[in-house]
Every structure is written in C-alpha cells, then in structure tokens.
Amino acid sequence: MNILVCIKQVPDMESKFKVNAEGCWYDSSDLAWRMNEYDEYAVEQAVQLKEQTGADLTVLCIGPDRVKETMKKALAMGCDRGIHVTDAESFDKDPFAIASIIAKFAEQKSFDMIFTGMQSQDRGSAQVGVLTAEMLGIPSITTIVSFAFDAGQITVQRELEGGVKAMVKAPLPALVTCQLGLNTPRYPTLPNIMKAKKKELVVTPVADLLGVAVLQETLSLYFPEKKGGGVVLEGDSAELADQLIAILKEKTAVLA
C-alpha cells in the first residue's frame, strides 16, 4: 500500500500579524511557523495506517524553503519520505491551484490512501482535500473523527453539527480530510528526530507540477474593525481583580 499525507506550514495564530506591502496577504517576516493543526491529525492517522499495514508513507508540502522544518517533524513522526514542492509564492495560490499541484504529483504515484487536514488555519478554505480527490476521480470523505481500515475498505465517522456523527464507508483508493480530535498526534522522540535527518527529502520545483491558473485573487487583506463597546483592562493582577469585581457587581447579578 502507498499512502500520501499533505501538510501545510502556517503561522502560530497567537502571532502579531501585519499586512504585507502588496496589501493582499499577511507579512511573513517575524512569525513563528508550525504545522497546520489539522494536519497533525492527518500525519498521525497516516502513520497509524502505515504501522497497521506496513505501507509506504510520503509527506508532501508546497511552500518556500522554511517549510522543510515542518516536514522534518512529519518525518520524525514516522513518514518515510518528504516531497517538498518549492514555491515562494504558494501563499498567493488559491485552493484550486494547490489541489492541482498535489493531484499532478499523486497521479504519477497511484496512492491507495490520501490524508489531508480538514482546513488550513490561515486560509481556512476547507477545499484542497476534496478538490484533489475530484481531480484524481477518487471518493473523498470530509471532517473525519474516527478511521478504520480493513479488507480494502475504510470505515470512518464524519462529524456533523451538534456532535452527531455519520458512519460512512468507501473503497480504496480514497481521500479523507481530518478533523481535530481524530486521534492523539504523537510527539517525535529524540531518536526519531535523529532518524528523520537521514530520510529522503525530495525537492521538486513547483513549475514541474503546476498546470492551471488561479480562479480567484485576494484584493485586500485588513484587520476587522473592533465592534462592541467592550473594555480592555491591563495591569497588576490584584488591581485587575478588584476592577473586575466592581464591574461584575455593577453590571451583573452574580456577585450580589
């Protein structure tokens, strides 16, 4: 069996963001980068499937040079090899273009199972997984919170609103998009981090895989106007506590 997991590198969401000079994305300097949270669940599930079946597991990431750091984490978690599609402009590509790059790569390798995150934390489109599967002509199931593979078929639970889950089955090859809580992503151990350094990390220029134009553009990126009349308080903890107690006494009945 041949498995692919797609990961994206995203900024830490607690970062202080700035709009870039072109005004259409966030400035990438002075940010701490990490693996998209949803993709950690995708990598973990792919590694578990590899352990179950003895499959070969490839991790793919499209982005500038710095994404190698994030790919190393996936390799240390248990992926066998990395495909780094180098693209300094990946932030400007829409989900359709990103999916077409992944599909072009996957076409040549005939993967039995593809894992992606449900959405990326920065762009949040929740499209790349399903688009990739449609381009490859294979079934896809989104927002999975449980996964099992047996006898050429996957059985998963899709998470719906209000905590309801739908039980769904599909034959391989298939693609699933992974939701938070699907499993418990492992922490790479030191020996595995050392081993990962020796794993193959193939670099492919994006031009070799890109065949489509983007279907949409970001015209402008900006901070939303702060709405509501909320007060912001800062300072010494004891003073803050007194201030808050005074406010709660005045505005709510809970301390009466």
Binding site: L131, Q157, K165, V232
Partner: protein, 305 residues
C-alpha cells in the same frame, strides 16, 4: 444576477441554516432559486422555485448523488452564484461542484460588499476581500453571518428532480451525541478553560473560580480533545450552546465555532494574554493577563467577600 441557494435536510428535518441563505439572497438583492434534497412534508417558506429531490428516495447525505442532482439543477437554473452554508454539508459538497464547474469557491464568507465576498483569515484575526475570476462563483456562508430580517410566508413552486447517479461512498447511519452529565445550558455562570490553561492540572484553577461564582466550568474543544475535560463540558458548534448570565473565557482565542456556542451570554469576560485575540470581539471585558496568575487571585478575592 441569479443565485441558487442550497438548503439542507437531515433525517427529514429542514436545517435552520436556510435563514442564512435567504439572508444572503436579500443582501445581494438577487433573483434566487432553492435546491433541496428533502421532503414534501417539511417545505421551506420561499418565494420562488424550489428544486426538490425526495430524501426518501435518495436517503441521507451522499456526496456523489447530491452532486449530480445539484449539477443538473445548475444546468437548468444557470445561476451566477451557488450559495451553501459553511456546514458539514456545505463544505463537503461545495468543492465538488466547484471542481465540476471549474468555478472559484470562496469559503466561510462573512460579508458581501459591492458584489465582493469577504472571508476570514487566521482564525478571524484578519479579513480579506476576494475577487473571483470565473463566470460562476461558489460561496459557503459562515453560520449566522447573514441573518434574515423577516421570514418569508410564501409557499414555493416545487419542481421535482431526480437522478440515476450512484456512488462509491456508503452511508450506514448516525451516531447521536452522548448526552448526560452536566447540563451547561442551565448554568447561570460558566467559567471555561481554553488551551491557554497549558496543562490538565490547571482545570482546577478554572473549576475553583466557577465554584466561587456558584457556577459550572466549561471548556473549548482542544481541552476536550486532549481529554482534560469531558465532552459534555464543551461549548461550541460541536458541543453545547449556552447563554448564562456570566461567561468567563479563560485562555480561549475565540474561534467562530466557539463563539457560536456562547455569544448569546448576557455578560462576557475574557482573560487572555493576547490583546488581539478574536474573543475581544464579543467580550464586555477583556483582561490582558496570564490566567495562571490572575484567576487564583480573583478566586481568593471573591471567596473573601
């Protein structure tokens, strides 16, 4: 402009997010038609044509069958835009349609200004205005972003639709949410723990404040996913919806799925180290503080009252 709205039905029940779709149609001031795999028994109120596939024939959501039904309807209606909710139904089906039509899809749209969709970026800390470059555009709408001033009273003109499409994906039933344990919806005060608590032992700090305020403690999803709290304490779209007199969010960033579960609280206090955390959008008071230091001090002061 002509738009096609995609409504949803689950187990014979029309889903409430149809109001977001109708709200969008009103805002865009567009001629609209409605698509639904549902039942004659529960027809939506709508002034226009409803393309209806009978869910007793097509069963619960099946992406491959619904895709074909919708593509056939798009062929008839020839809309400029196809509008979904950003729900487990919408984010699953929309990209399939986007691919079939080679149409630009913009997800989780929060506003529509001068004919341009606006979407959140980075956990709603930023927004972007998007220009689709294709003839047909697909949008999925953030829950609650477009509300309807007045619900229609008209009965739609129903056009029955059908397909012979089949698919490889097989649905085999629902598992309902476990209920039981705490009922947060009855609590007057809820103090919730987010990932900012850092480690499971710190639940005690949050529980301590909740007790001092004679309330219950709740949690955001990562805290529940890490098994630091029970699922029945989760607040949000996939947890409980609450509206206490006081909601205290400790170390919670304020993702839309969390806000959806608590923004109707009467008074909201947020404790966060990040001044720009989106929870500030709904908080009456935002305290910039390290919860591990601040919450125990606050609890002691309240207990000493």
């Amino acid at each position: 402009m002509k738009i096609l709205l995609v409504a949803e039905c689950r187990e014979g029940r029309l889903q409430a997010n149809i109001n977001d779709l109708l709200g969008f149609a009103a805002k865009a001031d567009a001629e609209s038609a409605l698509f639904l795999v549902g039942t004659q028994e529960e027809l939506p109120k709508f002034a226009g044509t409803l393309y209806l596939a009978d869910s007793s024939t097509y069963g619960e959501y099946n992406p491959e069958i619904h895709k074909q039904l919708l593509l056939d309807t798009i062929d008839t209606v020839k809309p400029d835009m196809v509008i979904f909710s950003h729900s487990s139904y919408g984010w699953d089906l929309a990209p399939r349609i986007a691919f079939a039509l080679k149409a630009a899809q913009i997800s989780e749209v929060v506003d529509f200004v001068d004919g341009k969709p606006i979407a959140p970026v980075c956990n709603a800390k930023l927004r972007r205005t998007v220009a689709p470059k294709t003839a047909v555009t697909i949008l999925t709408l953030q829950a609650g972003a477009f509300s309807l001033a007045e619900e229609p009273t008209t009965t739609p003109t129903v056009e029955a639709i059908s397909t012979t499409a089949t698919g490889k994906i097989e649905f085999s039933g629902y598992q309902q949410a476990d209920i039981g344990g705490v009922d947060l919806s009855k609590a007057q005060v809820i103090v919730s723990a987010g990932r900012g608590i850092g480690k499971p032992e710190n639940i005690a700090i949050i529980e301590g404040l909740a007790k001092a305020l004679k309330g219950e403690y709740g949690a955001s999803r990562p805290v529940v996913d890490s098994e630091w709290a029970e699922h029945n304490r989760q607040v949000g779209t996939t947890g409980q919806t609450v509206s206490p007199k006081l909601y205290v969010a400790c170390g919670i960033s304020g993702a839309i799925q969390h806000l959806a579960g608590m923004k109707k609280s009467e008074f909201i206090v947020a404790i966060n180290t990040d001044k720009d955390a989106p929870i500030g959008e709904v908080a009456d008071v935002l305290l910039i503080a390290d919860l591990k230091q601040f919450v125990p001090i606050l609890t002691d002061k309240i207990l000493a009252m």
